[in-house]
Symmetry: C2
């Protein structure tokens, strides 16, 4: 159907709403919404299947605005299509408590698939959504039942394409031949520093071609609705390549400052806003004004979307009849219910079992649960043999014609692309049918910091299998030995950092990570062998902290994590030889421990005797649980790990020496209060 | 000159040394050294100018082994050429205290230019070295005096090229037309997960062509010494493009496992090591065996390098005669001496001066010192107008034919490439004549975490101008508001994180950052205006912490940083109205404060009364300086900043309330000791 004046009215309504909202907020980015309104109209009106009354309809097409600063574009669309986003919400753009924050947040606003704004993340998330879709489709579609066949549409700006995270994800997307991914690149030649020719003169389409993408260029993104429509049709017809369409647009189209960075990140001046409205046939004295015809036009599409969902539901009912097991699996995974009794597969250890590296313990957990939990979609950033993230019989997630796997595969070879991997995992989680996990060295989780904080903010269940977790990795040396990493991750709200000390703690870490559906987890795992502790049980460790060794006559409590807990237990003997009694507590996960009752926590870290923490990282933050801290506030060293532990005195003797210093130093203070007791509670 | 048997003997000596060293360490990566030994021989013998007796010769060609895990290649070369690296050092490969750690560290080993191993960093550092060289050359070379004209040669593997940081740097290098950069890509088809076809099937050369690089492919990297030599000659002749030469090699050449990932990351089996030696004509019963002819061959080259330096020194003497000012500038900068009295330009404020955003204060500092300190090489990741990192009259560092700057320019448009920017700054610092600084939002320093920790480990003087430093940025919302970032950076050893509260503190931050030649700094700067504090002076703030408001009858000390210090000062009045007296301390830089005498520190945070910390970040770590902590252990909110501060109670009233709770909670504890008093000192 040809585009009509009403189509243009709708497009211009989006533009004017973006002008009004940024003016009302006196803050925000009108340029991208004004430039991209035509493209958004084409994508939403002609291609996307979605139901505003059920934003979580499983087989919906996904839309990702990777240039999230242009979010008024998306908010306007969501409002006009009848999502639960009122005109008042638009009026409260960028205000405290609104559903329209300055950058789109997936958990706050219906219809937002992933949190964007930090550049490069959205398009990388979209690669994850596309992977998840391809994997789910290959797994559940059956002859006559093309059940899961959605596309992911992405808008991306110059900024996103300069970011390394997007390069990583795009290279992998090309390798994986993700034909369900269509990216529209807003080629507007403007970034904050001005013309892109100051820093970004590469040939973007040639780069994507080199990655294995299908590329097109639509030269008139301002008026050429038909051209873009045709290009998207071509893109959809290419089944074995992701597509990128370079769409040349004028940023801030309609503004007196169009085509300049003046319209990028600040509201239009009142005069300019007025002329924009006049130019597009709007009454300049009205604000947030939407004509009924525009609502009507978009309602038709929304209704078609609702009908499409109804049709899909009918198909799903038929599918249920023919493929009952698969149908109930889809529902179970969609509702984030784990299969009953799955946790009985978790390995249980006794203290007489041998010492095992916790990366190896992690491998055992995965081997035990992987078949029971088909939602697990694993992988590694090219460290499979070191992270031990794969299992016997695993099939690679690979394009079928690669002959080294297929799309039902549940193991992703991410390549050496940690940041891309993190962002892709967020996208996999956002699709809704998988729990992604992936491995790298703990130190290189830092490469992915941008994605990790968004996992936490967006409440994605994503699991990092972070092996080689300390100086205990030995010879690779300081470049690979985390010091600050754990403090960094512990400081991220809504992130569970686990550092299990033995087999039961490792099982507990997986149990909590797998049942925490709105929280990412990082499991810090050792390269070196760790003994099984005496009082360690899955139930104890699930609390995030517990007593490993109790002694009612203790003069000191030693609290520790991971590979150092066993050494602390040995230190008890060293101290006992000098007539000093000590308790030892293990605190594998602060975030989980913090959520226990104060009574329980005080039973682990009680009043009365001083507490010494022991961990081979920066001591930063340990004061929260201890009076004195033994750690490593410097970079590590290259050598066999036992030599390094000795050099830095993380030995029974080194710990005992500091425990004695702690006892001595606190002998005159009365009362000795547990650091858990605080003057006031923190805001949440 | 044609290659002789002796050349091959030298090449095979490198291979065998790598086999012996990894075997002795029972750890390490023999594959890359064995595969790349021919290429290394060609580069070092035929192209590089260097003097092993003076590894810091200014106009040396630089060599960067980006695939740092192959460091035995470089260690072997350094030893054979006569750098201060003995055969014993090779025997102690990967041992505690050796000069041959598991990955090359610039500050430990003579001849290592930059610390590599974390993938993608080295090649990105090399872009920085090339930028610094081009800038210094354009600045100091004169007709007849081609004084600074070195090249940078890089070896890079598949892993490095998968990393986003390398993509960012490579795109910028192409834009900047860095003809002095020659990258040799070890196309060996192997990464840890096996064949690169599992994840890395892009057309690498096509990608680099898209970036604007000159590309070549040498198909036989194992035997084709002449082909590689010719390719490098061509690369050197291309003056306006960086070059990449794809060199197809067999990893672990000579091993029974050659061409497989079995030879990537573990020593060869004894039998295999034996047959390698036999194959290459070595006595398998000997270890670390180097023939005198090989030493002789390399000594010739080393002697040529020493002669080249002597010749350069003579040229420099002549240059001194003609260009005395420039010559003394080169020496001054090479020796890291700042011009006398430069610090007199630092702006000084009095408490009656108006409130100013600290990002603006930073702009003023830069404007005042930029002409006095020509070693400053600035830039921003596409946020110039927000970071305020540019100055009036600044010239962009751009390729001359761009017409928008030239190579004498001192302002780099990094594009939206934070991680690349961080790694490039490390390279600029490594070249030795510049102090790089660059801007982004504090939250996005996290994108560069991989490079930031290497700044600290490698002791690079790099300055991050990190604006929009908290929820105070307002409307952009939680995606842009740092919470965990400061804890992360504070936990990195040898990194100075500053959060100035006013103008004098900002000047102090720059003073210390500019005079700390072996330490990176991150300056956290506000978007919102901050009042000038009463007791703030540059001298006080230079100590990292000082008393802003003293009161000998105080019942509580409030310690804070940056934008919250002024609010704490206001809280004093709120408390005074209730008859409560309080002290306020400002702690703009923990790392610097920690280095003061215990007496001084105790004068700021004394015994006797409880201490409350106030900062709008994660409280993690503040227990080190305070008994109670008021912070933000959750994500922020989108809205005008004053509304957000109010929502989270960072107001005089909110602070006063918590100060009272603190006083009350600690009233029964005797003695109240400063948290600065500890049972034992940390290892350094």
């Amino acid at each position: 159907m040809p585009y009509t004046d009403l189509d243009w009215k709708a497009i211009n309504t989006i533009r004017v709403l973006a002008v009004d909202a940024t003016s009302a907020a006196n803050s925000g980015h009108p340029g991208a919404p004004m430039g991209l309104a035509p493209a958004a109209h084409v994508v939403f009106q002609k291609f996307m299947t979605f139901n505003p009354k059920n934003p979580k309809f499983l087989n919906r097409d996904r839309f990702v605005l990777s240039n999230g600063h242009g979010c008024m574009l998306h908010y306007a669309l969501l409002h006009l299509y009848g999502y639960d986003l009122s005109i008042d919400d638009l009026k409260h753009f960028r205000q405290v408590g609104s559903k329209t924050p300055g950058h789109p947040e997936a958990h706050d606003t219906p219809g937002i698939e992933v949190t964007t704004g930090p550049l490069g993340q959205g398009v990388s998330n979209a690669v994850g959504i596309a992977i998840a879709q391809a994997q789910a489709g290959a797994t559940f579609n059956k002859p006559g039942f093309d059940l899961l066949n959605s596309h992911t549409y992405v808008f991306v700006g110059d900024g996103c394409l300069q970011e390394g995270v997007a390069s990583e994800a795009a290279s992998l997307a090309g390798h994986l031949q993700l034909g369900n991914l269509i990216v529209i690149y807003d080629d507007n030649h403007i970034t904050i520093d001005g013309d892109t020719n100051v820093s970004f003169t590469e040939d973007v389409l040639a780069r994507f071609e080199a990655y294995g993408w299908h590329t097109q260029w639509v030269k008139d993104g301002n008026e050429g609705l038909d051209d873009l429509e045709k290009a998207i049709e071509v893109a959809k017809s290419v089944k074995n390549k992701p597509s990128i369409i370079k769409l040349t647009t004028i940023i801030g189209y309609g503004s007196l400052q169009q085509g300049t960075h003046g319209v990028h990140g600040s509201p239009l001046k009142p005069d300019d806003a007025k002329q924009v409205k006049e130019r597009f046939g709007f009454d300049p004295s009205k604000f947030f004004d939407v004509s009924p015809e525009v609502y009507g036009l978009y309602k038709e599409t929304a209704d078609r979307g609702a009908a499409a969902e109804a049709e899909w539901n009918a198909l799903f009912e038929k599918y249920k009849g023919s493929f009952a097991t698969e149908a109930s699996e889809i529902l179970r995974r969609y509702e984030k219910r784990l299969p009953e009794g799955w946790q009985n597969n978790l390995p249980v250890y006794s203290s007489t079992d041998g010492a095992v590296a916790s990366r190896k313990l992690s491998e055992t957990v995965l081997a035990k649960v992987i078949n029971t939990l088909p939602e697990l979609l694993g992988g590694s950033a090219d460290l499979t043999g070191s992270n031990l993230t794969i299992w016997k019989g695993a099939v690679d997630f690979q394009p079928p014609d690669s002959k080294i796997g297929d799309y039902t595969g549940r193991y992703i070879r991410y390549g050496v692309r940690e940041h891309g991997m993190g962002a892709i995992m967020n996208g996999i989680s956002a699709y809704g049918l998988h729990i992604p996990y992936a491995g790298t060295f703990l130190n290189f989780v830092s490469y992915a910091a941008g994605a990790v904080r968004l996992s936490a903010l967006s409440q994605h269940q994503v699991i990092w299998v972070a092996t080689h977790d300390s100086i205990g990795l030995g010879e690779d040396g300081p470049t690979h030995q985390p010091i600050e990493t754990v403090a960094h991750l512990r400081a991220i709200p809504n992130l569970q950092l686990w550092r299990p000390a033995d087999g039961n703690e490792c099982s507990a870490a997986y149990y909590v990570a797998l049942t925490s559906h709105h929280t990412p987890s990082v499991l810090c795992l050792s390269r070196q062998n760790l003994p099984q502790l005496e009082n360690s049980t899955i139930e104890h460790a699930m609390k995030g902290g517990y007593v490993v060794h109790e002694d009612s006559e203790a003069a000191v409590t030693i609290v520790s994590t991971g590979s150092e807990v066993g050494i602390c237990v040995d230190a008890i003997k060293t101290l006992a030889a000098e007539g000093i009694k000590a308790r030892v507590a293990s605190l594998p996960c602060w975030e989980v421990f913090d959520s226990q009752s104060q009574d329980y926590k005080l039973s682990v870290l009680p009043d009365g005797v001083p507490i010494l923490s022991v961990e081979v990282y920066s001591t930063l933050g340990w004061e929260k649980y201890s009076h004195e801290q033994f750690g490593l506030n410097r970079f590590g060293a290259s050598g066999p790990y036992k030599d390094i532990y000795k050099k830095f005195e993380f030995t029974p003797e080194g710990i005992a020496k500091r425990a004695k210093a702690t006892i001595d130093f606190w002998k005159d203070v009365k009362p000795i209060r547990s650091p858990l007791k605080r003057a006031f509670t923190q805001l949440i």
